[in-house]
Amino acid sequence: MPISELVGLSLQVALSRQLEVVSNNVANLNTTGFKSDHALFEEFLSPEARQELFPAGDARVSFVNDRGVWHDFSQGPTQSTGNPLDVAIDGDAYLVVQTPNGDRYTRNGALQTNATGQLVNTEGMPVLGENGPITLQPGDRNIVISPDGRVSVNEGASVKTEGFRGKLRLVRFAQPQALQKDGTSNFLAPDGVTPGAAPGARIQQGAIEKSNVNGVLEMTRLIEITRTYTQVSTILQQQSDLRRSAIQQLSDVPASA
């Protein structure tokens, strides 16, 4: 049984999956509020053979198994945009997006308004306040979003009349690793994972949080993956050569000995 080839194969399968994770990170180098992923590997020991078959005992063979992908929730760099409807979250909190499939959580604070004045994300889904969607009125101007998420505007003819339009809902999770990525910059909370209040989080208006993917790190990882993959291929190649020459030499026994 050419077990060494299977061990090599297990590493190659794991590496190609890690490459997929890296390529998704690099593809999202410029995605607002994106959190990078990292692959986790573990050793998988083959079960020992039964004692009666191998009296001398059997060495355990360890394979590579990809156990999971974890999300790096570190803060991404903040880019100032000057757009009053852009918000960046400072701290481990999330904005709440109302989608047809239930609430989703996001770090993407590039907000827009829709035709009825509701605050929405780029997909047109309402971004929720403490008491449901936040709606701006037609005459509103000079929108100010305070660090705690209060959306206030100037309304009416006078410059001094201040109107309060709602407070952005910010939530945090005790175990953020339990969150699942749902595409379109959203996270999904599986059953049993409930959002809690986020008292320490601050909102910065006129800025967005860039992707936290570190280009240099991903390139290094990429080189590491290709080098390891090529090395394993070479080992497999040598194993195959070894076996071929063994077959050739062993079968080269004269028929009439």
């Binding site: 999956r17 180098l29 995605t31 993407n108 280009g215 291929s233």
Partner: protein, 262 residues
């Protein structure tokens, strides 16, 4: 390998990003131009091993799963509708809006378009028109013998007519506001048209109910900032290159697999 396609989505996204940035830079000196920004989102994830799956009868659950992403997509190119700087020109028919609102223009097919570009001219009939000759709404006709045309902050157009010692009021310019001005569609020629996303147009008098005031003899510059655009351009170019590297790395891995069995 899927990594090839994932990296390809990244390259396509950055190509679009550069396209948006180049359009912003090309329109740096366009009166009333509002810059755009490419917004990206991650694509769907394949949940190879779902997080929270029960792994034993004792109720152990997986703390992390395997989610493989499939790249990036462009969510939109929203327009940033911030105020541009005012440039004094000294020309009588140059009007800049300071604050909210758009000028309403009648285009040749009879419908209305909206613009922040107030570089108006007078046509042969004395009407106030845009640089393309489209009539500014509501139509204002300036008599042939009128002099020193004044447009005040409230949009009132007046001029001195021979024989009178006080200025004669010729008309009133209006401004139009949308609840979601970023939802307007640009049609070129510095014009925007209404869409279902923008909401219905609401006409009003300048400097009333939160609409901006008018500044005669000024033009609103584009709100493009060169430094921002150039640094975005560099970031986009680097991201493009890195995605290219992922493709060549994937190619190298596939090649070493293909070379295994000669």
């Amino acid at each position: 390998m899927r990594a090839l396609h994932t990296a390809a989505t990244g390259m396509m996204a950055q190509e679009l990003n550069v396209q948006v940035i180049s359009n912003n830079i090309a329109n740096m000196r366009t009166t009333g131009y509002k810059r755009q920004r490419a917004e990206f989102q991650d694509l769907l994830y394949e949940h190879v091993r779902r997080i929270g799956t029960q792994t034993s009868d004792q109720g152990n659950i997986l703390p992390v799963g395997i989610d493989l992403g499939s790249g990036v997509k462009t969510a939109g190119t929203p327009r940033i509708m911030t105020q541009g700087a005012l440039l004094p020109t000294g020309k009588d028919f140059d009007v800049a809006i300071r604050g909210e609102g758009f000028f309403k223009i009648q285009v040749p097919d009879g419908t209305f378009a909206y613009t922040r570009d107030g570089s108006f001219e007078m046509d042969a009939q004395g009407r106030l028109v845009t640089a393309q000759g489209n009539v500014v709404q509501p139509g204002i006709t300036i008599p042939q013998n009128a002099s020193s045309v004044t447009i005040n902050a409230q949009g009132q157009v007046s001029a001195m007519v021979p024989g009178n010692t006080t200025p004669t009021v010729l008309g009133q310019l209006s401004l139009t506001r949308f609840i979601n001005k970023a939802g307007l569609q640009a049609i070129g020629d510095n014009l925007f048209v209404e869409t279902p996303a923008s909401g219905t147009p609401q006409d009003g008098i300048p400097n009333v109910d939160g609409l901006g005031d008018l500044q005669q003899g000024n033009l609103e510059q584009a709100n493009v900032e060169a430094v921002t655009e150039i640094s975005d351009l560099i970031a986009a170019q680097r991201a493009y290159e890195m995605n290219g590297k992922v493709i060549s790395a994937t190619d190298q891995m596939l090649q070493s697999t293909a070379n295994l069995f000669r």
